[in-house]
Symmetry: C2
Subunit: 331 residues, 2 copies
């Protein structure tokens, strides 16, 4: 992996966000030449603190993936592109579906057209999401399970990955799609609960605020640590067998939502929770139990999540305790 990425010209869209910045740190350590693109949209997770350690050794370019002229320059000379930028809030996609369409449909097409015109040889890894399965029609969920999104975000992320697959088949662009499950870890935004609920709870605990659990918290979920996702992105960018393929990327160990909260409080050594009724805007898009089948990623990418939940939580609390002021919600 070091051999592959050393001196490699790499672009990361959404590079100042949660996944993008963690990936940037790792690529920088591997010796890659890293360029980060980020639109810094309010509420979308970009944070200068995320890349403080590598500020001097990476290129940062603030622009929107919908900006075709800036993006043409960004993609032109890159060997590998990790395309992570997107609208990521389930609830926002229901209250402002047009923004979600503009970023996750039109914006992805601007990106792909730019790659097709200016650098069709670039290896592209696209960050999709388990939200495309929505309330899954069968569990555990393999890549062959049909999409059943419960919100506009899930539909448009599916459209985005389908565009990528079509641009692979019709235009020969070497593309891999990763359907990422719930993530947690350092460098996620903790300003609002619109995405990254576990990190939101970490923030509440550190700010001595009570966690509200909707319903009884009995739904099964899986949580994947940032470093495990990053490993999957790096492998997906290397393996020839991954071309034109879609992979489920997520933890296989299920935990009930309520037990996740109890574990957080235990690891933190502080915190409180209460059960409250489902707010209607969340209930409408709640997906129920979810369990991932990741055997394709295990076989083809040689990837499995390796971080124990408690270890990941400890690293997460360590990070936010040391950096809390940089991640607090604006007053």
């Amino acid at each position: 992996m070091e051999k592959f990425y050393k001196d490699r010209n790499v672009l990361i869209t959404g590079g100042l966000g949660f996944l993008g910045s963690n990936l940037a740190l790792r690529l920088d350590r591997l010796g890659a030449r890293v360029t980060l693109v980020d639109a810094f949209l309010p509420g979308h997770g970009a944070n200068w603190r995320n890349i403080e350690e590598i500020r001097g050794s990476v290129q940062v370019n603030l622009c929107d993936i919908r900006d075709e002229h800036a993006m043409a320059r960004m993609v032109a000379d890159k060997q590998t592109i990790f395309h992570i930028a997107g609208q990521t809030s389930h609830t926002d996609s229901m209250t402002d579906p047009f923004l979600d369409i503009d970023i996750n449909c039109r914006g992805n097409m601007v990106f792909l057209e730019t790659v097709r015109k200016h650098n069709p040889e670039a290896r592209v890894v696209y960050a999709s999401t388990r939200a495309i399965y929505g309330a899954p029609v069968t569990v555990p969920v393999t890549e062959a399970v049909r999409p059943n999104a419960t919100d506009i975000y899930g539909v448009n992320k599916y459209a985005g990955e389908a565009y990528h697959m079509i641009y692979h088949r019709a235009h020969g662009i070497p593309i891999t799609v990763l359907r990422c499950s719930n993530g947690y870890g350092p460098r996620a935004q903790i300003e609002h609960p619109k995405f990254g609920i576990l990190n939101w709870f970490v923030g509440l605990i550190l700010r001595n605020q009570k966690i509200k659990i909707f319903g009884d918290g009995a739904q099964l979920r899986d949580y994947t640590f940032a470093d495990d996702f990053i490993e999957a992105f790096l492998l997906a960018g290397m393996k020839q067998d991954a071309l034109g393929q879609v992979f489920n990327i997520g933890a296989t160990t299920q935990i009930r939502f309520l037990d996740m909260v109890k574990t957080l409080i235990e690891i933190a050594g502080q915190g409180e929770y209460e059960l409250v009724p489902w707010p209607p805007e969340y209930k409408k898009i709640e997906v129920g139990d979810f369990a991932y089948d990741i055997s394709k990623a295990q076989t083809v990418l040689g990837w499995s999540p390796s971080t124990a939940f408690e270890d990941g939580l400890r690293k997460t609390f360590d990070f936010y305790r040391a950096n809390l002021e940089h991640y607090l919600p604006a007053e």
Copy 2:
């Protein structure tokens, strides 16, 4: 059916196109109060001749479904809305993906938001397409088969129907989705081969031009006559069991592409064809064999196609022979 639609306030988007106009004629005969919306986009199939017989008894409003203010007035007082307008060319979606996104993603969302705000009680029937299955992952294709579109049109039509299903579940709008297969019959455009290939061939035969078949013409296809589609739309707008449901609507009898052409020539009593190599832009999005499972529509809607292929072709040739000048390509 007459009882249900008599004096009913009905809106048809794409009302001057192939399906929309045939539906309008039938609804007019059933005694419905029909309003037609059409954007008259160049190349999209709208033709005044399509509604000549009912010009005096239907309302026509030229506007785009992306025009939220005009559409607000259009949907406000309607009991039933047949939402058929859309970008419909596979190849155009590959050469101009942004127009397809703007109509089939953003335009569908403008439509749905307009219905949600101004008339959430309206019964909506959305015309989707078998193109969402693309190169189907299993044959015959039931509604449970996962989408696998080979072009941007197929992806965005899937997004459009998924938006509709979400607006049904989250906002309670009474919606039914019909995934329509290849259609043919009177009132389709025959100006270009970008959609409605059978009608295009009918036009070529009547203009004494040779039909070009790409490849060997061995791929299996099904062709559904306009009147059969119209019956499905009318049933879908009536049945309570159809709410929140998706249905495959198409013929079950398969015919090889080459045999379809031979039958056309036989029924017409004129015409010639030749085999030519696949042009690359078509080959890239060709889907191979296709066979529809329509048992859900048979069970729930009580719908089956009833027009024999030869009968449908005779009616089609009769129509275009009587009206050819109104459907010829612009010089």
